[in-house]
């Protein structure tokens, strides 16, 4: 499998704060990779760096063999990098249909007829077809998350960055969302999924990256990651991590 995205020594500082420092990893085509890390670890900043919302302090982002370190968000979108926001970002007084159409029309780079067709496909896919004509502002949270997903998918992305799509959903709703994500992956779209719920993450991802204090702490198979001493320490602190290993042995 060839590599779709490569980050090489990517850093970002806001004044004296190093939000992300020297992070390097690659994503292969068609892979689902999970990313975890305690609050403030720099996960969302990393997504913003990949999509060009923030400019890199140092390092390089390579997408499909091209250096895209200096791209702007709309360029990322047109190249095929779509994202969802942790806090959903709809066009509030536009209809559900128009929201998704914005994705297919501008991000998909297609003509209007084609864009409408794509919009209808994705609305059906996420299950929002029945409420396509209501304004996005009146959607419930799970539906807003679905809308966010449909909008990103309508852009026909090659890489999808999911920033906590499950935050604020209950168990049943998460199950539905995970099913959708598996189906998206089945289409061959590469997915980087940021998630706090370990159970969810371990069940879908082939590989897990762990970010801590802006640095890459560990990388590996899901079951290896949960056993990793450094990861346990990052989440529980040294004292409790010690107790946990003691109990195990």
């Amino acid at each position: 499998m060839s590599e779709l995205l490569r980050l090489a020594g990517v850093s970002k500082s806001f004044g004296g704060i190093h939000a992300v420092s020297k992070v390097s990893f690659g994503l292969k085509k068609g892979e689902i990779v999970g990313m975890i890390g305690p609050n403030g670890a720099g996960k969302t900043t990393l997504v913003n760096l990949i999509t060009g919302v923030h400019s890199l302090s140092t390092g390089k982002v390579v997408f499909e063999g091209h250096d895209v370190s200096r791209q702007r968000p709309f360029e990322a979108a047109r190249r095929g990098i779509a994202r969802t926001f942790q806090i959903v970002q709809p066009f509030p007084s536009m209809t559900v249909f128009e929201n998704v159409a914005a994705g297919s029309l501008f991000g998909g780079g297609s003509n209007i007829a084609k864009a409408i067709e794509r919009t209808e496909e994705e609305l059906a896919f996420v299950g929002l077809n029945d409420i396509r004509d209501i304004p996005a502002a009146s959607l419930t949270l799970p539906n807003r998350k679905r809308l966010e997903l449909a909008k990103s998918l309508a852009m026909s992305p090659k890489l999808l960055l999911l920033d906590e799509v499950n935050a604020g959903l209950n168990t049943g709703e998460i199950e539905g969302a995970m099913n959708l994500i598996r189906q998206i992956a089945a289409r061959g779209i590469t997915i980087l999924i940021i998630e706090h719920l370990m159970k969810v993450l371990l069940s879908v991802s082939e590989r897990v990256l762990v970010l801590h204090h802006g640095e890459m702490l560990a990388e590996g198979k899901p079951d290896e990651i949960v056993q990793d001493q450094r990861v346990i320490e990052a989440y529980l602190g040294a004292k409790f991590a010690g107790r946990m290993t003691a109990r195990k042995s």
Binding site: F74, F91, M94
Partner: protein, 322 residues
């Protein structure tokens, strides 16, 4: 994109244009003057609608565009350019000015953008009044007079202003139903999300700002030819820069017909108040602004008249029962 229109509005608009154009046949110069003012402000309100209504950036630069249009038109004519050519030159120069300026001040958002754009009016006014060697400074400039009797001049200016208004309307219509207009609306709703779905927000905003200047430049140049004399305080007027957005808000920002409805309504009200309350007309303008913000934030065209009617009849029948 995918917008549906009711033919009613268009029919009304065509009738309105016809009504404007036949004014000189039956009315005296006073009425024709009002008709010119209505057409002129309609064109400027339609222009403002691109940036203020569609994209949602509260621009107060209208007077700067109008004033520069006046001066470029006047200077071109004084340099012996034919009248129509000098109007076109003014349009192009103002559009280029707005494009260059937009790239700078559209980095600001919300209130900051509003203040930045209002500063442009003051700045251009000060430059114009200090640069005496070119602009004549505070003494103003004489513009070659239009030939013909006063009635003929008024009729001619009215036709030109109406044509400019129709042009502005056609461009609004085309933008409204195109990808561009859809992109403008997306930026209005949520600029970050618009960026993220692949809209080049900077370019779109600069385009909207340029569109909002274009016709103001033409209107300014035609105005200069009409009045025959311009000076900095008259052309770069803060009052003008506030009036135009108020008109659009009165009619309905971001709608197709709102700017025209608002401009016509406002000019009519202003004429009534000006004639009857000479001392109080500014206060009344202030009152209209306050009223708009509190009671009609979406303008006349966004009111759900059917619901309003149902409510009224509802309360009437309810009262009859009790």
């Amino acid at each position: 994109m995918m917008r549906r229109y009711q033919p009613f509005g268009f029919v009304l608009f065509v009738f309105w244009c016809a009504a404007l154009l036949i004014t000189p046949m039956w009315a005296d110069n006073y009425v024709v003057r009002i008709a010119i003012t209505m057409a002129m402000f309609s064109a400027m309100a339609l222009s403002w609608n691109f940036i203020g209504g569609f994209v949602g950036y509260p621009s107060f630069s209208t007077a700067a565009f109008f004033g520069i249009g006046c001066y470029i038109g006047a200077l071109a004519q004084r340099a012996d350019a034919p009248m129509v050519a000098s109007w076109l030159i003014a349009t192009i120069v103002v559009a280029a000015f707005a494009a260059a300026l937009g790239a700078i001040i559209l980095r600001l958002k919300g209130h900051y953008f509003a203040i930045g754009s209002i500063a442009i009016v003051e700045l251009t006014r000060l430059i114009t009044s200090s640069w005496s060697s070119v602009t004549g400074g505070g003494n103003g400039l004489n513009v070659p007079l239009l030939g013909g009797s006063p009635d003929e001049v008024s009729a001619f200016v009215l036709y030109v202003m109406t044509v400019v208004m129709i042009a502005a309307f056609i461009v609004t219509f085309l933008v409204d139903r195109s990808r561009l207009g859809f992109g403008f609306r997306c930026i209005h709703q949520n600029e970050d999300a618009a960026d993220m779905v692949g809209i080049d927000t900077t370019r779109y905003k600069v385009l909207a700002f340029t569109l909002s200047a274009l016709f103001c430049g033409t209107v300014g140049a035609v105005y200069a030819s009409w009045v025959g004399y311009i000076d900095p305080t008259d052309t770069f007027s803060i009052l003008l820069t506030v009036k135009v957005p108020v008109m659009v808000l009165l009619g309905g920002a971001g709608t197709l017909f709102g700017p025209v409805v608002g401009a016509v309504g406002f000019v009519f009200l202003e004429e009534v108040f000006w004639a009857n309350f000479l001392e109080w007309n500014r206060a009344i303008l202030g009152f209209i602004i306050v009223f708009l913000i509190f009671f009609l934030p979406n303008g006349l065209l966004r009111i759900d008249y059917k619901r309003l009617l149902r409510k009224r009849t509802g309360t009437v029948t309810g009262a009859a029962k009790s």
